[in-house]
Symmetry: C2
Subunit: 146 residues, 2 copies
């Protein structure tokens, strides 16, 4: 089961970007994503640990981007909220078999190649690129909603 945390995280960051420097509350974000505020806070928490957003507690708190959208790469977002590899190794192959004994070492290298490929693909895309595409997609879109 692939998680949707990355998708939600990008959605969240896009909303924060459009809000500029006014802090956005988890409840508002949750409405746009169409989920529960706690789910959003969990994502925000991960993004905050990764230094991509800053959250302010207390009354009139909320979250803002920690950097300009051009300086946030999707690879950082991915690392912040997903586990990394699209497949895992099998637990305990038979050690008294030439294949079973060594296959995991080989597969770990393959796993490394794949993770690197994902990382590089996502490093090419910035949050600003996402905003630009959103703008292009929604050329018909209203400006004055949130």
């Amino acid at each position: 089961m692939a998680s949707s945390r990355f998708a939600v995280a990008v959605h969240v960051l896009a909303l924060l970007a459009r809000a500029g420097d006014v802090p956005v509350k988890s409840g508002e974000i949750a409405r746009s994503v169409n989920t529960n505020p706690v789910v959003i806070r969990r994502i925000l928490c991960a993004l905050s640990r990764a230094r991509l957003v800053v959250a302010q507690r207390g009354a009139s708190g909320g979250a803002q981007l920690a950097r300009t959208p051009a300086r946030i790469k999707l690879s950082e977002v991915y690392r912040a909220v997903e586990c990394g590899s699209p497949f895992s190794l099998h637990p305990a192959p038979l050690r008294r078999c030439a294949v079973g004994r060594n296959i995991c070492a080989v597969l770990e290298r393959v796993q490394g190649e794949v993770e690197g490929a994902i990382e590089r693909a996502l490093a090419k895309i910035s949050l600003q690129d996402v905003l630009d595409e959103l703008q292009a997609c929604g050329a018909q879109g209203a400006k004055r909603d949130r």
Copy 2:
């Protein structure tokens, strides 16, 4: 939860490669992988549908590679047994929000980039490469076990 089907599939194919043209039974494979024969048969079934192996039913049946190891790319194996994307889109963002309305289209493109990157990374590795690395890893390894 990332599945281990790809890892098991590569393990299975390596065993078939080493068996040459003698058919290997799911039970024998299961012993090396250290799992249940049905789990192996499920993987073999997917690999068979992808035309990577041929299975023979009935007494003295079993599975063999459908091609030489050099002509089997790990990208084909991955496609045969895994679902594709390491992340999924979130179900139903709010359509009356400029971001919510268009984010999924943008994310689908990102998803495409990532899937392409995985595909290309795995297309560079053949089953023969895996066999060579197994050999290198297990240079100390016995030849006469299965």
